[in-house]
Amino acid sequence: MINFVLTRLLRAAVTIAAVVTFAFVVLRMSGDPAQVLLGPDAPQDAVDAFRRAWGLDQPLWVQYLAYLKSIFTGDFGVSMRDKAPAIELVLERLPATLQLTVPALLLKLLIGIPVGVYAALHRQSFADRGVILLAVVGFTIPSFVMGLVLVLIFSVILGVLPSGGQDTWVHGILPTITMSIGGIGILARFSRSAMIEVMGQPFIRTASAKGLKWRDVVWSHALPNAAIPIVTIVGFMVGSLIAGAVVVESIFSWPGIGRLLVVSVTNRDLAVVQCILLVIAAAMVVSNLVVELLYGWLDPRLHARAGH
């Protein structure tokens, strides 16, 4: 078990290191931020002063070491626009993003999994076919199309829901729905196939054969086993919560991290983009780690293969 946990921790650390390096390489080597921020007409001494102030005149490896040091001391740099620490700007926006993503995640779980399990238990029925079709439609519609269609219907034509802003909880309805529909489709489909696979296993036949009630077979034999693959996809969803907010927040002018990222990218605000990149990657890696550890707990068979 210790070995299993250590391998996973090591892999998570390596991944974080790779993301940190990626952020540095891409953001520092892709152009001269001094020129970009000050404009092409800026006098040379102003550019030089700017570069000295941000350490951009140092050799790349010196910049890299300084960068690593600051990351490890929790210093993610200062926004070149607002002159505020990048991490503060990001944390300031975090609650707004969570206001959308957490309800959206709950909707995905509370609708997607039961619907998928129901479809699996009533295979080939009318409901099952409907679920499959809706699930496919749900996750093939990109969120920006879904969001705009919802705005068109509920804000423009019916005029019942606001199309943007963050003033009241009512403003959160359309973004939350937009964000959750794709995930509901994916989860429904995934739970359905996981459940179908489990229901075909010999131990389910054994459980039925020994005379267990159907409900007990489903609840205590099928569901726990189907949970293993479902946990994987849920973990992935948790990790990509913030990333998934980018498009939706842009559509609905929601002042969260996703919108901050798009704005900072357009403004080439290095420190903020880098900080968001690291926050998102950390969220992904941590939730992957939790999933893998949960996996080890849910499925003891995996310990044997943990070393691979």
Partner: protein, 293 residues
């Protein structure tokens, strides 16, 4: 694509009489419609120049924001009086070309790395797997946003960037399949006969694992279309005056209340295309993936 056809013909070797009867018996209606739609899209993309009634930047200032159904403009016009249908046709071409190019790059790149990992094992394998972990850990949209904004968006960069989409899946699949194929008799025997590693992989192992890789391609293709549309929607993908489906939706959004058709036409095309690919891809997977039999 030739391998797809040969694979498809195999089950039809039965008592099928005529293509139409075969299709009617073996292909669901939704899949047939999907194939038809996709064929139509490919045709539109190929003949874009001939089909387009107007140039994509031709402005008809006297009929700005004209509603669909107008005699001169079937799908209406946008805020500058540009013909929506013409722009839609060009967008289909641009989006399909990007997605197609990117899918090929991603498949070749990922498969090559996966086979390299299987051949060399040790350090190379760890490196490839670490890179794959990294790619999977960083949401692709976020990575592309960073890269595009900092390098500025150009068509070549966009295709190359999209070419990184999903490579880690091919790499993992190719590595896994190649390792298990390497343990089988046929690979061992050609190695014994003195074949070079390149020959073993390209002539013997690759054809045997191709069907699974092709299925992954049908999965990544619509995802790349969605990814490119998303980036273009945010204004960071295809840049004007060139147009793409996401780009049209993004600009059409400004006129959602006054001229929803600018946005609805490309949105419908995106939905129908990805839906079709999804349906056809599932069908192909059921057909081709031996592990599902």
């Amino acid at each position: 694509m030739s391998s797809v056809n040969t694979m498809n013909e195999r089950p039809s070797a039965g008592p099928a009489t005529g293509l139409v009867a075969y299709v009617r018996r073996n292909v669901a209606l939704s899949v047939s419609l999907g194939i038809l739609w996709l064929a139509g899209m490919v045709l539109v993309a190929a003949l874009a120049d001939q089909l387009r009634p107007y140039g994509i930047t031709d402005m008809d200032l006297s009929s700005r924001l004209a509603a669909p159904g107008a005699t001169k403009h079937w799908l209406g016009t946008d805020e500058l009086g540009r013909d929506v249908l013409s722009r839609l046709i060009q967008s289909i071409r641009v989006s399909l070309v990007i997605a197609f190019g990117a899918t090929i790059i991603s498949a070749v790149f990922g498969t090559a790395l996966g086979l390299a990992a299987a051949q060399f094992r040790g350090f190379v394998e760890h490196l490839v797997l670490a890179l794959a972990d990294f790619q999977a850990a960083l949401p692709f949209l976020i990575m592309s946003l960073a890269v595009l904004a900092f390098f500025g968006s150009s068509m070549v960069l966009l295709v190359c960037l999209m070419g990184f989409y999903g490579w880690e899946r091919y790499a993992r699949i190719a590595r896994g399949l190649a390792i298990s194929a390497g343990a089988q008799g046929y690979a061992a025997s050609v190695v014994q006969l003195g074949a070079t590693p390149a020959r073993v992989y390209l002539r013997h192992i690759l054809p045997n694992v191709a069907s699974t890789l092709i299925v992954s391609m049908t999965l990544t293709f619509p995802e790349i279309i969605l990814m490119e549309s998303g980036l273009s929607f945010l204004g960071l993908g295809v840049q004007p005056p060139e147009t793409s489906l996401g780009n049209m939706v993004g600009f059409g959004r400004e006129y959602l209340t006054r001229a929803p058709w600018i946005m609805l036409a490309p949105a419908a095309v995106i939905m129908l295309t990805t839906l079709s690919i999804s349906l056809v891809g599932d069908w192909l997977r059921d057909r081709l993936d031996p592990t599902l039999r």
